[in-house]
């Protein structure tokens, strides 16, 4: 069980680096955006993992039940905001990618740089 106490953090690290690799190594712009979204999801996983309390439940008061142990509500609030900010960024990024495709005719990074150099 000792290892499983850290498994969430290892998964977070691996997901973070997978998303980061997609952003820096893949030339396709849509792939970069998907990688960015994986990166963001990894960070959400980290925060929610840190908020979990053993034996706790979701931080909602149930009527008539006394002395409940709740998981931490604060990371959940921060991640709620972060998810919506993430989708806003993705939407704007997709808009830019579509416009780039219309102007340059391609969404591959090296081809766009070639066209820019001419």
């Amino acid at each position: 069980m000792e290892l499983f106490g850290l498994y969430n953090y290892w998964v977070y690290t691996v997901l973070l680096m997978i998303g980061f690799y997609a952003v820096i190594a893949k030339p396709n712009l849509i792939k970069k955006l998907i990688g960015l979204s994986i990166f963001q999801s990894a960070v959400f996983l980290l925060f929610i993992t840190m908020g979990k309390v053993r034996g706790g439940t979701a931080p909602i008061f149930q009527a008539g039940v006394e002395d409940q142990v709740f998981s931490n509500p604060l990371p959940q609030v921060l991640i709620l905001t972060a998810i919506v900010v993430g989708i806003s960024t993705t939407a704007l990024g997709l808009g830019i990618v579509v416009r780039i495709k219309e102007e340059y005719g391609s969404i591959e990074e090296h081809e766009i740089q070639e066209l820019d150099r001419q």
Binding site: E2, G5, L6, Y7, N8, Y9, T13, V14, I18, F20, Y21, A22, I24, A25, K26, P27, N28, I30, K31, I34, G35, S37, I38, S41, F44, L45, I48, G51, K52, V53, R54, A58, P59, I60, S71, N72, P73, P75, Q76, V77, L80, T81, I83, V84, I87, S88, T90, A91, L92, L94, G95, V97, V98, R99, K101, E102, S106, I107, E108, E109
Partner: protein
Amino acid sequence: MTVLFGVFLLTLIVITALAIVQTQHLFVAVILAGIFSLLIAVIFFLLDAADVALTEAAIGAGISTMLFLAALTLTAEYERSGSANRLLALGVVAVTTLIMIYATFDKPRLGDPAAPVQQHVAPWYLEHTPEAIGIPNVVTAVLASFRGYDTLGEVSVILTAGIGVLFLFGAKPRRQSGPQRIAPHEPGRGLRHYLIPRVVGQLLIPFILLFGLYVQFHGDYGPGGGFQAGAIVAAAFILYALLEGEAQILRVLPQRLLTGLIAGGALLYGAVGVAGILLGGSFLDYSVLAANPITGQHIGILLIEAGVGITVTGVLISVFHALAARGSV
């Protein structure tokens, strides 16, 4: 048992992420990203984050997949392979992974009640929510009342993204460079020739809207709130747009009304804050909105969640329109 289930799901998530980066067919990558979001939503639920799981499922698995697919029809279908510095990128990523895994050994174990994050502000919120705000869902209380400023900032971010997309797609494309699509019917007519999806969709849309309203107003008592409700209502309208076509949805919800919704929600939020000042309290102080401070809190939370839901709905439908109408120009 739950531990095993959690470990299994986390491993599945890593495999899905690897598959997303590996595949060169962008459509497959987008659908896998939708599966990834659903799996993460289940993990969030296992970690006692019910609100976050609902938001991730509605926004990550639903709206995000739809936006990516709409953008894919306007761009490319396959990714061209190869990049010059792949080995360097792999090296950097591997070294950073090892360093971060070494760093995780100092972290408090999963579920540790003595961890520093559980000590300072969180017990204060849990203790003071019933007496100061009086609603059962602590997450909504913190989001809407204790940390109302952050949520105002978030509404501004969604507003800015909506304005940005509307600006980007305000100019008509200079040349017809879109991919050739196989459409036997006129573009913009939706799925009018396909009876089964239309009938079932028209049957379900009222219930989806009803569920969206339920989620909006039950944010105080269970998982829910403005963001999830905005995404669900936007999904209902987008389903209508897919079934009946762009022309029809623009008759039902003209673009001016959508722009009004986008601005109106944020305006409502700010107005509640200013009303707090005018009635003698500070900005976004809901206790002065009614004679009884707890009732004032309830009214304030209701109004700002409505503002958030309205803005999110307006922005998501506008972004869909911007992407969907582009192809048929």
